[in-house]
């Protein structure tokens, strides 16, 4: 089943009198259960594409169907509902609420989904357990390491059981070792049947996925299966 179908998407930013073509003409399909890396140099339009796929932004031109529904015609509220229920974001800079503890950060999407308090606390706790942070649920972001923060962010992305997880350079702010642990976690999540789109500019990170879409100057350059996918060591997580 197609989760995502985009056809001839373009995104043009108006900067002063100049037009910046962040995306020129992009078409792609992503199916349920895929692990896709979007690869490209800095400025190639990866984040722009991810924001559109995540319903944070709308394309200037083109068609976007999410689970067969035309997203381009949705209202702000409908987009918010899709982001809330169907999409889990993981950002390079974690983007946690700094004054709230891990538990509150993770339960926040469930608050917006209208889940009753005891149920959502339970779900948030389980999600934190899932990412190996059972003993950190009442820690605030500044009391956690970078890797732990990214795990909280991943737990927040997973807690609503979204149709797709979008990760924009999730290891970009982490050292190699911790980055590997996070990639191991993504692998685990993938193996449990989740759909993941991973944005990166590093070949080595992209090779964790089973499919790589290479993008340059707002155009898809190549779209290929990874023959010999890199499977990270699972036990890395325990050394966190």
């Amino acid at each position: 089943m197609n989760i995502i179908n985009i056809e001839h998407i373009a995104k043009i930013y108006q900067v002063g009198s100049e037009e910046v073509h962040a995306l020129r003409d992009v078409s792609l399909r992503i199916e349920k259960g895929e692990y896709v890396a979007i690869m490209g140099p800095s400025g190639s339009g990866k984040s722009t594409l991810m924001n559109i796929l995540g319903c944070l932004d709308t394309p200037t031109r083109g068609l976007y169907e999410f689970k067969g529904v035309n997203v381009s015609e949705m209202s702000d509220n409908e987009l918010a509902a899709i982001r809330n229920r169907e999409i889990g974001f993981v950002f390079q800079t974690f983007n946690l609420l700094p004054r709230s503890d891990a538990l509150h950060n993770v339960e926040l999407p469930l608050i917006y989904a209208g889940v009753p308090a005891h149920e959502r606390k339970e779900k948030a706790r389980m999600a934190l357990e899932h990412v190996g942070l059972a003993d950190r649920i009442h820690h605030k972001p500044n009391e956690l390491s970078g890797g732990q923060r990214q795990r909280v962010a991943i737990a927040r992305a997973l807690v609503t059981e979204p149709a797709i997880i979008l990760a924009d350079e999730p290891t970009g702010n982490l050292d190699t070792k911790t980055g590997e642990d996070i990639m191991a976690l993504f692998n685990e999540i993938y193996e449990q049947g989740n759909t993941i789109i991973l944005v990166t500019h590093e070949e080595y990170i992209a090779e964790h996925a089973e499919r790589i879409i290479r993008i340059r100057d707002g155009l898809i350059e190549r779209d290929e299966k990874v023959v010999n996918r890199y499977i990270p060591q699972k036990n890395g997580a325990s050394k966190l």
Binding site: N51, G54, L56, D57, D76, N77, A80, A81, R83, N84, R85, F89, F91, N95, L96, L97, R99, S100, H104, L108, P109, I111, Y112, A113, G114, P116, R156, T160
Partner: protein
């Protein structure tokens, strides 16, 4: 409905978190609201107090009363010198009026004198001594704590008897038991025959019956001042409020006759009414109200601007937070209500602090001006503070709600 309550509850919790994170700023922000609410509560409390006292005053004197006097009490239609040049009203005028008047319920002459009053080593200085007759009590609603008013015999024969207002009695006889004792006025002994109940009509100043004493009219002329020193006043009580106008018409006719006025001569007396007093008091209350409204409005306005300002700063500072919330599914409406709720809570906290300050201050004020804080005043204060929060929080909240999520997430 359930969804709304859920959102409200979660909105409140989120707002409380945000306020908790900026305690000092939140409290400072509320200063304007604190001042506004304090003044709302104090003002309406004071106005209540004045109003009550006035109602008591009118009630104790009787609202269906007319006062025939040389002086015009409230309206200043007639020039002062003209009033001054009028002949004094005399006891004879009173007697002839009483004889001719058919419709009043009761009629009594009064004349006053400033004197000191003592009992043993206790003294109350410069009080109003009212000289009148036994009919006087029927022209008022005064009630007795102890004893009685002087009777017809005591009145006609000019006995040295006296009735004390409650405050005078309290000062001279702190332990009670005044009836039967003798007080001295200008060296003359008077036997106390009655003590009035407290009337609480302090607005009326020296005319407050609590601060007066009453004795037979002849004694005023006999001991304190000559008959031509001051005009008397004739207190007239109409049968009921519907009869006030008729009683007044009759009084004008009779008095013109008594005073021997020709048809083309103007009245050389005035018929005064409580209404005049009412107008004066209402004017005073009105001035206080306007001043109060002005101070309150100004404080609340300043408060509202402060809240708005701080909320704009808060929205700016928390742009990234708003971006995160939107990314994970907060709707515009959710963000809007989050920030409005936050402003409303800050204001409500300010309002509560203001209310507490006002309650404490009103205890202090209570020493001078008997008041009580009404429950509707409290509700009003809370409603006003929440409303201020909602109004001043709207614009910043709206700005937050319509932020573009991608831009907001990129904000550092």
């Amino acid at each position: 409905m359930k969804e709304f309550l859920y959102e409200l509850k979660e909105g409140l919790l989120i707002s409380l978190r945000a306020i908790g994170a900026n305690k000092a700023r939140s409290v400072l922000t509320t200063l304007g609201i604190i001042i506004g609410v304090t003044s709302v509560v104090l003002m309406s409390t004071a106005i209540n107090g004045i109003d009550n006292a006035f109602q008591n005053g009118v009630a104790s004197l009787g609202s269906d009363n007319l006062y025939i006097d040389k002086w015009e009490w409230f309206n200043n239609d007639t020039p002062w010198w003209e009033l001054r040049n009028r002949r004094n009203l005399t006891v004879e005028d009173y007697e002839r009026y009483k004889e001719l008047a058919k419709i009043p319920l009761a009629v009594a002459p009064t004349i006053w004198s400033f004197q000191n009053i003592r009992y043993k080593n206790r003294i109350v200085e410069s009080i109003i001594i009212q000289g009148t007759n036994h009919e006087y009590i029927k022209t008022t609603n005064l009630t007795f704590k102890e004893g009685r008013f002087f009777n017809e015999l005591e009145s006609n024969s000019g006995r040295n008897v006296v009735v004390l207002g409650s405050e005078i009695a309290k000062n001279l006889f702190p332990n009670g038991y005044a009836v039967g004792e003798y007080v001295r006025i200008k060296g003359h002994k008077f036997k106390v025959v009655g003590i009035l109940d407290e009337q609480g009509s302090w607005v009326m100043g020296n005319f407050n019956p609590d601060k007066q004493v009453f004795l037979p009219l002849q004694n005023i002329y006999k001991y304190f001042q000559s008959a031509d020193f001051r005009s008397i006043t004739i207190n007239v009580r109409a049968k009921n409020s519907l009869m006030v106008e008729a009683t007044k018409e009759e009084a004008i006719g009779i008095m013109r006759r008594v005073r021997g006025l020709k048809y083309n001569e103007p009245d050389d007396f005035s018929i005064n009414q409580q209404e005049g007093l009412l107008n004066t008091i209402n004017q005073t209350v009105g001035v206080i109200q306007i001043a109060g409204l002005f101070i309150t409005g100004l404080a609340l306005f300043v408060g509202a601007i402060g809240i708005m300002n701080i909320m704009f700063v808060s929205v700016k500072e928390r742009t990234k937070e708003i971006g995160i919330r939107k990314a994970i599914g907060a709707k515009r409406r959710t963000i809007l209500s989050q920030f409005i709720t936050e402003a409303a809570i800050i204001c409500m906290i300010g309002g509560t602090i203001g209310l507490i300050i006002a309650l404490i201050l009103s205890l202090v004020v209570n020493q001078f001006l008997p008041t009580s804080v009404q429950i509707d005043t409290i509700i009003l204060a809370i409603v006003i503070s929440i409303a201020t929060g909602v109004v001043s929080g709207f614009a910043p909240a709206y700005t937050a709600a319509k932020l573009d999520p991608v831009e907001a997430l990129r904000y550092e």
